[in-house]
Symmetry: C2
Subunit: 383 residues, 2 copies
Amino acid sequence: MNVYVAGTAMTTFGRHPEANTVELAVEAGRAALEEAGVQPEDVDTVYVGNFLGQSLHHQGVLASLVARGLGLPFVPATAVEGACASAGIALRHAVMSCRVGDARVALAIGTEQLTASPVPEVTRGLAEAMDRETDGATGLTFPGFFGLVAQAHETRYGTTREQTASVVVKNRRHGRHNPLAMFREEVTVDDVLGSRPIADPLRLYDCSPISDGAAAAVVTVDRPTTAQSAVEVLACEQASGPASISDIEDLTSFPATTSASTCAYARAGITAADLQVVELHDCFSVAEIVDCEDLGLLPRGEAGAAITDGATTFDVGKLVVNPSGGLLSRGHPVGATGLAQIHEITAQLRGTAAQQVEGAELGMAHNLGGCGASATVTILGRA
Amino acid sequence: MNVYVAGTAMTTFGRHPEANTVELAVEAGRAALEEAGVQPEDVDTVYVGNFLGQSLHHQGVLASLVARGLGLPFVPATAVEGACASAGIALRHAVMSCRVGDARVALAIGTEQLTASPVPEVTRGLAEAMDRETDGATGLTFPGFFGLVAQAHETRYGTTREQTASVVVKNRRHGRHNPLAMFREEVTVDDVLGSRPIADPLRLYDCSPISDGAAAAVVTVDRPTTAQSAVEVLACEQASGPASISDIEDLTSFPATTSASTCAYARAGITAADLQVVELHDCFSVAEIVDCEDLGLLPRGEAGAAITDGATTFDVGKLVVNPSGGLLSRGHPVGATGLAQIHEITAQLRGTAAQQVEGAELGMAHNLGGCGASATVTILGRA
């Protein structure tokens, strides 16, 4: 069963003090349905990815509330949680519902409202993506964890702080073209290295921001008949990995990413070298370096140097990574990020992106949760 | 693709002060794998149903933690939430993973730890299954909601308080045989009517208790080769419905239940009259009356009288409802309940139940979330 992306949408990412988790999801879902030319009554199932709607806002049954808000019939409405990978997981289940024949039209939405809560509450909430009994008990935070990842990559491969900072420079340069991104100003390596220390060696600009927002995709078994190129889901895979640092053998690689991408390449029948455009999970600058290596986009240990040399930007490399600006520019409303990635890759394959990768025919999205607890890898192709 | 229940297990339901949400899930999951004769490395995907692990215990990425705890490989591990229907939703996705060919062996687990938290926190947590912006803001609780349902059924159909109480009497009588149930003492109609008022007309014994526990099922595409009868999943359907009282047209029926059961009967190719045994969602006594009518087991408006006359108990009716004792006796660790129902129906179809429905060949489980926000209906058959 072939499955297509018929439409995508996202809210602006940033601060939405006026909107709660459900309202953000409904806004993105409605826009995706409109973009796909699909009526609510034609939706057969809905998946909602979210991380902190219960912890911060005490609202469960989120998927049912979103379904009612969209005016959907009594279709299955399911909330899924995998920390920062929640939206990727939502998409995988929308695709699965189509593949198994339970749905002709499935809607996947990711949503998160973070900035309405006090920062200490958000920090505590984000730590729910760690094992509370081990890492959580030590007071480890996510910047702290990725600081350790950066130190490990430096120690093992000689990756420099300037190389890590160059990820931020590239993604901010890409992000300046993205009208939905939270940050649209360029920064220099010196700006990054001179920004406020967060968790050594990571500085403020090495970290994706706390944000609100939602994103959505409509997937269908019927090939879209729009004027634009149809976009097909060639693979949408998910894997799990160690959820606590005490269980991680090697801090310079996330097994969930390698496992999900190996499955995805096999299902799509392609290799990493076939891709022209990738959106990956740069929650911190160093994460993009690790992700590029785990996904097989750049040789192990060499991603820092290669990114600094422009291997993954416009007009230089054969591949563009995070043309949207990534999490570092676009923002990171945790449960929404995976579908914002799909929004960008779909636009790139249709040839309608704000900053277009010329001739893009194969694209990939990579969404990572927790300390590598979950990952999804989705490969889309121009059909 | 045929899908079978290869093994099930549950912890005792009640108080587990020693165990957290993950540990309960691992205990039930491990026992289900052992019962199925399946090694952890042969599991292809795991789904974990849970409601309040984040709100009460600040632990996300639950599915990945459970997967690691069970020693599973890097397989997809997904947490799903649909309030009290979370475990039914987990099962549906395990079954779907088999049907689509992504898994030969899938594990579904439901888990909840409630009694370790102060009661006011639990009460607030349970209210997350309502729409916080509407019902939640009024201070409505779940006993309050089901009290309104009982009043509506009384007004519309003349159902009496004695009839509603007779549900409790029946389920407590069934539950005395269930070694894993929280309550194993019989009660009389007078006991129920004389117990402490909770939300008019519901009394203490009309309400399922706050409990801890976990339950699990292993589903496979390979027909189990055990000595016992193989149990096949004939349908596993899910629907959504109004999530807030202001959106409910008729308090005497839950559209999510009717929708899910209509789909399930159609997929299984049976009618309600073909069933010998049903586990349904008696979170409150009156819920069993409404459920029996919504599922088409008893005529609309007549379930109270019929249950009082023994239509759904051993040796009297053609059908036994809640032979395990239901939520009223077994207890209701919210995210686990749907799979405890599957544990009972599987035992009934294998002929190994603590109190056996003789000759049971077709059984059904019905799991309801929130104010009818979600429902799942699963039909199992002796294969």
